[in-house]
Symmetry: C2
Subunit: 279 residues, 2 copies
């Protein structure tokens, strides 16, 4: 496996890489969820590239950016063990050599939920993903369903900007108790880790309510929120039911939807989502 | 020469095109200024592609969009005669099959001059040029100096978004009396055509003033504006002196600058610019 830290060297590598080239953009701190993205790419592409870059322009709080884990050595081992052909791990100044003035503005798909609670987040995500697509020039790129709104944002960006990259959706990987894998889980204390699966359990309650025939969003939300009732250590930020493609919250469930939530467990912010289909 | 009207067919062509591929994006109504762009591409690239697309999202007034000339047949002949390998002339729905939600926001380089008098213009230009770059995937793209602020916008976009396209600047082509070639010149009546060179003459006066040692922008502007003094048929929109890369207006000339102006002659809006260097 080759590790590359400059755009110029990457462009040379790209001209020799076998096609189709699969690409997994990450912020590092790799876990089995990323492993599943890499496995999917490996299974369907002749070459596989992974990027590891903690992107400052998608963070709202500088503390969150500063404390985001960066275990580069073990990440490189993780990739090598899974048959990745190339890891692109640029320093900050390689990606942002001058003040970033040009941004991708995403529009309505980025307005609700994460977009509402993390203003500018998706602008930063869309901008860095577009940059990485320009640099790596993959044929396919793999994104986890755990970040469902991010997936919808990237899909819309690729459509509207005619980017020649196929976006592949990969299911969320979970712990046995249902907690979705996330690089931020390592910030959870022992006690916080015990209650963190409540987020998944609340989404599951909403999913069951929809499967049982509930259509009224307020009633479905109430069913989900009872899961948190006893525990003040979980601070829900939002729980919404939205269209899977447009990420617009709905008032009534009339077809397949996605149930999405964000919650703080202690000082760690967790997000998760499930699809739900009425009977 | 091949004429292509769909993105899918273009992507097939691209895989067979010889590299380096030179690209000249246009809105059609081709004239000798475009011819010079094509000649430059022809001289330095193995294959040359031209796009012809009147881009609605960069127009402010729907009348201007509606009356923009669209002589497709003669444009195709123009390209064939100049050795163009491929013309991409998509219908509107090929470029914008759904409401465009995602845009490239350009930042300060787009704020003054054209950006001030045509709000949203450069957002539309940057977005369609990025789309065309994604579709055509050229190695180099050729832009005329006549649209100096557009050139600066595209350069900044390519830098900030890491787009793998080299931007080549090509000098303005002028009529013998100095009028810069433009597709909009054909809207000028005979009398308007006679006075249209006043724009170039005013810019030349500013250029001479700077070459003679003037540093104060207000004094330089006064020197330029005397050219229009006698003629109320020319309505100046702006005349500014700005940095050539950042397109920020300056108050004092301390090095090479660009003098830029826009003026209405009858119902036709003309722009032009000249570089100027102090002694």
């Amino acid at each position: 496996m080759r590790a590359i830290h400059s755009i110029a060297e990457l462009r040379c590598w790209r001209t020799q890489a076998r096609v189709p080239l699969g690409f997994v953009p990450t912020m590092g701190a790799l876990h089995a969820g990323h492993g599943r993205l890499i496995d999917e790419a490996r299974a369907t592409c002749a070459s596989v590239a992974v990027s590891i870059f903690v992107n400052p322009i998608q963070f709202n709080a500088s503390e969150d950016y500063a404390r985001y884990p960066r275990p580069l050595e073990s990440d490189l081992e993780f990739c090598a063990a899974r048959g990745v052909d190339m890891v692109f791990a640029p320093p900050l100044e390689e990606m942002y050599p001058q003040p970033q003035n040009v941004f991708v503005e995403v529009g309505p798909v980025a307005d609700a939920m994460e977009g509402r609670f993390r203003p500018g987040h998706f602008r930063g995500v869309a901008t860095v993903v577009l940059k990485l697509f320009q640099i790596v020039q993959p044929d396919r790129a793999y994104f986890g369903e755990k970040d469902a709104q991010q997936l919808a944002v990237i899909r819309r960006m690729v459509q509207d900007l005619s980017v020649p990259v196929e976006i592949v959706r990969v299911p969320t990987v979970r712990e046995p108790d249902g907690l979705a894998l996330s690089s931020r889980n390592r910030h959870l204390s022992g006690g916080e880790r015990t209650i963190a699966p409540l987020l998944y359990l609340a989404l599951s309650a909403a999913q069951r309510s929809i499967a049982a025939g509930s259509r009224d969003v307020e009633a479905i939300k109430r069913a989900a929120l009872t899961v948190f009732a006893g525990d003040p250590r979980v601070r829900l930020e939002y729980l919404e039911i939205a269209g899977d493609t447009d990420m617009q919250p709905v008032q009534s469930v009339d077809g397949p939807v996605r149930v999405l939530a964000a919650a703080w467990v202690g000082g760690t912010r967790l997000i998760d989502n499930l699809c739900a289909t009425p009977p």
